[in-house]
């Protein structure tokens, strides 16, 4: 694998994961909290739940997905070089 391609793939992963990060933490939890609160998740208004719990759970998942993606990418890179 070309160095350039490796780096571009990594940047692509970053952009996708960071847009999810931004969507849950800033958009769902703060900017659109009012609209989401109209929906109920169990006893929680949905927007409130994103702010207090949902975002954090998604953050943890995001990091472990990233770890997996990069480990695979590294493996491929090393194998081809």
């Amino acid at each position: 694998m070309q160095k350039k391609k490796y780096w571009q793939t990594k940047i692509k992963y970053l952009l996708v994961l960071l847009s999810i990060w931004f969507t849950v933490s800033i958009l769902c939890s703060i900017v659109f909290v009012h609209q989401l609160n109209a929906v109920k998740l169990g006893g929680f208004p949905l927007g409130f739940w994103f702010a207090m719990q949902g975002s954090m759970i998604i953050f943890v998942i995001l990091i472990f997905v990233y770890v997996r993606l990069i480990n695979q990418l590294d493996k491929k890179y090393k194998a081809e070089n």
């Binding site: 160095k3 490796y6 780096w7 990594k10 970053l14 994961l17 960071l18 990060w21 933490s25 800033i26 939890s29 703060i30 900017v31 909290v33 009012h34 609160n37 998740l41 169990g42 006893g43 929680f44 208004p45 409130f48 739940w49 702010a51 207090m52 719990q53 975002s55 954090m56 759970i57 953050f59 943890v60 995001l62 990091i63 472990f64 990233y66 770890v67 990069i70 480990n71 590294d74 890179y77 090393k78 070089n81």
Partner: protein, 553 residues
């Protein structure tokens, strides 16, 4: 046994444990002292980072903040956790690959400039001391409340124990004591929270309990709490109170500030490989999230208690703990209408003032839990404060011994001499910590806002561009760091200490959200100034290039 004896036993036992660990992990070289020789497993480092990150403010103050601010308090949770995504994706693995001991060392070498190094030293020391003051204060409060010592004695005892393992063991000692401290603090936090959750909702898992129905199953817990708040004229617990843009700025300042916090970043220099650094951030956030998820629960549960069991009760009938906290001035009851009954309301007829910081510390007593739970919470609060204090001390001492002495003033030092210098600096920093603990600046919360503002606006852009923009030169970086530093500093000083009118806030952004505009400004200045000078030299660009690819290729 009474609470005080039990507390004494728990606190002494946990301190003895930390001292033993410190004894077993003496630092033998600067490598040991600065980065534990890069030998910490990602899992252990995750725990250590979680303890490092969760401070006295997290353990003692956050449940109270969420309890009293309701939904708005979530920005602190979002900020404290979301920054780890940035750390994992943008910072930690790259800096681990670069292979330096400290943040100023990264900035100094990446920007081939001792001026850049010194500006980073100033930022790192400033951030760490403001933070340290808060920790020492937390130690003092716990000692005075639970062991009825004076706050001063508490500060001395706490500083003494940090002194032992930070000065003796350096990063190596700190790491393994932090692992132990994480175990103590998470246990101490979960036990009362779980009890409260069962009591109020019959659900043993606090963060699920918060969304469950109340114990008799009649209504959702959140609806009941919202109803209570409304009845007494408060805003609903789930309702937004501040302006949206201000909340966004606060959340982003905290997140980006977290990703630029020196005492957090250096934790990822202690793992063996770059891939371990990534994984380790994941573990760290997982361990933090376990506690953070319970914060809104314990906050809401305790809030309900105050609204239901204290409001409208005759003052003569209040429980014992109410009087104890009243005795040290953290609860104030002022019987305005002279009817002997506590009226806890929004507005001017309110007769009860509760200090936010007591909420979690009082929660075991609120839930009428056995004395050992109260003792456990005291030990947990100390663990949270001491673990963070140790990480901060390390940043301060290494910034001086490595980045100022070794790299600039006395480059001929042997490794042994540098190690001694690091120990002396660490000891001196403990001394300053004691001073702040005993003579606390009355504005600890404000200065912590400042620490995040500076980390977000001065350090984060320089580190980020150092990794992702290889042509970035020293002129741009220095100009950007200084701009971020000066902007945040003046914004906060003007609005917090010189009586600036909140109506003049930039776009309504409060001092706690200053990191967002500060960071944007810093990025712009960095980019513009860098255009006027030569790009970074070829060998530096090559170094940056190296950071981006896996090791051993």
């Amino acid at each position: 046994m009474d609470v005080q004896t039990l507390t004494l036993i728990f606190v002494t036992a946990s301190f003895a444990l930390y001292a033993v660990i410190a004894y077993l992990s003496k630092a033998r070289s600067t490598q040991d002292f600065y980065v534990a020789s890069g030998s910490v497993s990602p899992f252990a480092n995750g725990m250590a980072t979680a303890a490092d990150w969760m401070s006295a403010a997290t353990f003692i103050s956050l449940p109270g903040i969420v309890s009293f601010m309701g939904y708005d308090g979530a920005v602190y949770l979002l900020g404290g956790s979301g920054g780890f995504v940035l750390l994992a994706l943008l910072i930690a693995p790259y800096l681990r690959k670069f292979g330096k001991y400290t943040i100023p060392a990264f900035i100094g070498d990446r920007y081939y400039s001792n001026t850049a190094r010194s500006v980073a030293v100033i930022c790192a020391i400033f951030i760490s001391f403001t933070y340290l003051a808060g920790q020492m204060r937390g130690v003092g409060v716990v000692f005075s409340r639970f062991l009825e010592m004076s706050i001063d004695t508490g500060v001395y005892v706490g500083a003494g124990i940090v002194f032992i393992y930070a000065v003796w063991g350096g990063m190596k000692g700190i790491t393994y004591t932090q692992v132990a401290q994480y175990c103590v603090l998470i246990f101490a936090f979960l036990v009362p929270t779980i009890f409260l959750s069962i009591l109020l909702t019959n659900n043993p898992i606090p963060f699920l309990g918060l969304g469950d129905t109340v114990a008799d199953g009649s209504v959702h817990f959140m609806d009941r709490l919202n109803g209570l708040e409304k009845e007494l004229g408060f805003r609903e617990f789930t309702a937004q109170r501040s302006a949206t843009l201000n909340l966004v700025a606060m959340a982003l300042t905290l997140m980006i500030g977290t990703a630029g916090m020196p005492h957090v970043i250096i934790r990822f220099f202690t793992v063996p490989k770059v891939s371990d650094a990534r994984k380790s951030v994941g573990y760290a956030l997982l361990f933090i999230t376990i506690l953070f998820l319970c914060i809104p629960a314990v906050g809401a549960f305790a809030r309900t208690y105050f609204l239901e069991a204290i409001n409208n009760q005759p003052y003569a009938n209040v429980p014992q703990w109410f009087n104890t906290w009243e005795g040290i001035g953290l609860i104030t009851f002022n019987d305005l209408n002279g009817d002997g009954i506590i009226q806890y309301l929004a507005g001017e007829n309110n007769e009860l003032i509760i200090d936010r910081d007591i909420l979690f510390l009082a929660s075991p007593e609120i839930a009428k839990l056995p004395a050992w739970v109260i003792a456990l919470v005291a030990a947990g609060g100390l663990a949270a404060a001491l673990s963070t204090a140790a990480g901060l001390l390390l940043v301060i001492s290494t910034a001086i011994s490595h980045d100022l002495l070794k790299k600039q003033f006395t480059p001929d030092m042997s490794d042994k001499q540098e190690l001694l210098a690091a120990r002396i600096c660490s000891a001196l920093a403990v001394g300053v910590g004691i001073y702040f603990g005993i003579h606390p600046p009355g504005f600890v919360m404000e200065t912590i806002a400042l620490a995040f503002g500076i980390a977000a606006s001065a350090l984060f852009p320089a580190i980020f561009l150092g990794v992702f923009y290889k042509k970035m030169n020293k002129e741009g970086a220095i100009a950007g760091m200084l701009t971020g530093l000066i902007f945040s500093l003046s914004y906060i000083i003007y609005f917090r200490f010189m009586g600036g009118d909140p109506n003049d806030y930039l776009l309504g952004i409060s001092a706690q959200g200053v990191g967002l505009p500060g960071m944007i400004l810093s990025f712009v200045v960095t980019m513009v100034v860098s255009r006027f000078y030569e790009p970074a030299p070829a060998d530096i660009q090559e170094l940056v290039e190296e950071m981006r690819y896996p090791e051993d290729v």
